[in-house]
Amino acid sequence: MSDLLHGVTGEEAGEEVSVTDRHGAPSPDEGYVLEARDVSKHFTVRGTLGRTSVVRAVEHATVRLKPGRILALVGESGSGKTTLARMLARFHEPTEGEILLRGEPVRGSRRERRAYHSEVQLIFQDPFGSLNPLHRVRYNLDRALRLHQPQLDRAGRDRRITELLERVSLTPAAEFAAKFPHELSGGQRQRVVIARALAVEPKVLLGDEPISMLDVSIRLEMLNLLQRLRAEDGLALLYITHDIASARYLCDEIAVMYAGQMVESGPKEEVIAAPQHPYTKLLIESSPDPERGVEDREALFAGADELGEPPSLIDPPAGCRFHPRCPFAMQECREQEPPRTELGGGHWAKCWLHTKGRAGELAATTHAEATAARRRTPEGAS
């Protein structure tokens, strides 16, 4: 049953892409550096007694990155953000779909992989795990330079190392170059990781929650550093986060993922000010806002003590994957995957509300209020 449904959703998504193709959206002329076109990743999990099940970590996601632009990928834990980033970093090959670098599909040979990684680098979430504790800072940068700029001699590499460390504000550079990772703080380590990625002189940086393991007090510095890299070097940045506030601070565009699928995407101000998908609305409303008072907060979440949890990716709900948690859910939502609705200005959402002409309801209420109302009159909305 569920297989059948997935077959159907697959076809639908395929059609969708051909629609965007017809409108001429993805072409190298538009200046996308890196593009993941309609990629899916399924992991096969072997349980006890040899029973296998498939985890649909990412399904039919499309990400496009432009030089000098920052795209934020937002979603809660387990929504497939990291899997998508790892596919873009080529740690996993996509099960379906393809990844294009400057419009050229990438292939798996070792040489091509190396060429790919000289343009695309990933910054890991955990700065404590992504530097080898036995190597000094200098070693890390030196290796990157040796591998990607073989024309540099020793003095040239030393000069470049100093430049890179100054670039990420680790001064005096000579002192930091001689340090071991355990002598650095989390923020300093993450800077070293960024400097190592920059040593390659990439065109695209993928940040997999680059600030989530850092102290709150240094997060802003980190965001400013990323901002500067974008502005000065014209890097394309994919910023993955579950923190919508930092996404708002940093990015130009936001894409929202839920249970392995993209549900809404668009320019940040539009998405944040007027979310067009109930899940986006939930995310924005549940992010802490210091301007909201305690009473406001209580009012906001009154009657909605339970906002639900993301579904299992092994056996996702039929239809719209958000429908078990959605206060606006209708009959269609349980049966069919919602179509993509273009809302103008590059803003789109996948929600039945738009097709059914109920989009106005989203702005009129809050998620918690709607949930509470829904509970008072079960099935009342549909």
């Binding site: 970093a89 190396r114 990684h117 795990g129 992504s130 530097l131 290796r143 591998l147």
Partner: protein
């Protein structure tokens, strides 16, 4: 870190004993000459004499000086120990680390090999091989011991390499474009040095003992002198029954001492690798005691 390593009395004692035997092995011939002794000379005027007098540790059934034999035997035993441990450890690294790092088919093949050697009955096999290879010199014995004794170490190293290979820093360096071999030897292997050092010491004890055991069973070069051959000839001449303890106790004691020393150094290596095992520094011990005493007195006062 290295000063911390040497601060432990266990390590210092162990290293001192090991160094002593190393020097004995290196300077042995010179030393015996200095003392005017010859391990092979038969003094027919003094057969099976207890320690004392002209022969400090007595003589054996053949009138050979036991002290000279022990000194000469150090060279044989240490040589076998070192070569055997080197071969065994090197093979364990070369099989275990790539198996863990590469995984997949490489792992399948190498792990099969490891398991094969793990279940082989090593001692009977060594007996057969040693019998097959005629003229078993000390080098041959050492190579055989090393060749049949690497599988356990390979198993451990594979497990460790497997866990390190999936850490982010290895992924990050692979993403930079580092090649597999460099990742194995510069990113993964340095994390295993503590383990390898302790494996090496362990293998050394094993090889010294194995040599002694093989010699005891009669598999050795009859002309070579090692602690094993000494014990074997003592056994052949029923030294235990005849009460010639000075013949077999010194070589046995030397083997036990080397084993203890290596184990002591191993404790130190363990403490380096696992800070929880580290002994408290005297300063903190004193502070803890003072606090405990203060707590006791205030507690008594209130009661």
């Amino acid at each position: 870190m290295s000063t911390g390593f040497l601060a432990s009395w266990k390590v210092r004692t162990g290293l001192a004993v090991l160094t002593f035997f190393m020097l004995l092995a290196l300077l042995g011939p010179w030393l015996t000459e200095l003392l005017g002794l010859d391990p092979r000379a038969n003094d027919t005027s003094a057969i099976a004499q207890p320690p004392g007098g002209e022969h400090l540790l007595g003589t054996d059934q053949f009138g050979q000086d036991v002290l000279a034999q022990v000194v000469a035997g150090a060279r044989g035993s240490m040589y076998v120990g070192l070569v055997g441990a080197l071969v065994g450890t090197a093979m364990a690294i070369l099989v275990g680390v790539p198996a863990g790092y590469y995984g997949g088919r490489v792992d399948g093949a190498l792990n099969f090999l490891t398991n094969l050697f793990l279940v082989l009955p090593v001692l009977p096999l060594i007996l057969i091989v040693a019998g097959y290879l005629q003229g078993t010199g000390l080098t041959t014995i050492a190579l055989i011991i090393g060749f049949f004794g690497w599988s356990g170490g390979a198993r451990t190293l594979r497990a460790q390499a497997l866990s390190i290979a999936h850490r982010d820093f290895v992924r990050a360096m692979r993403m930079l474009g580092e090649k597999g071999r460099r990742l194995v030897f510069f990113e993964v292997l340095p994390h295993l040095t503590g383990l390898i050092a302790s494996m090496f010491l362990h293998a050394m004890i094993g090889a010294v003992m194995a040599e002694a055991g093989l010699a005891f069973l009669g598999i050795s070069d009859s002309s070579a002198i090692s602690w094993g051959t000494m014990i074997q000839s003592a056994q052949q001449q029923s030294a235990v029954l005849r009460g010639l303890w000075w013949w077999f106790v010194p070589p046995g004691l030397c083997i036990a001492l080397i084993g203890t020393a290596a184990a002591l150094v191993n404790f130190g290596v363990d403490e380096l690798a696992n800070p929880k095992l580290r002994a408290a520094r005297p300063v903190s011990v004193r502070r803890a005691k003072r606090l405990a005493r203060a707590a006791a007195t205030t507690g008594g006062g209130s009661r």
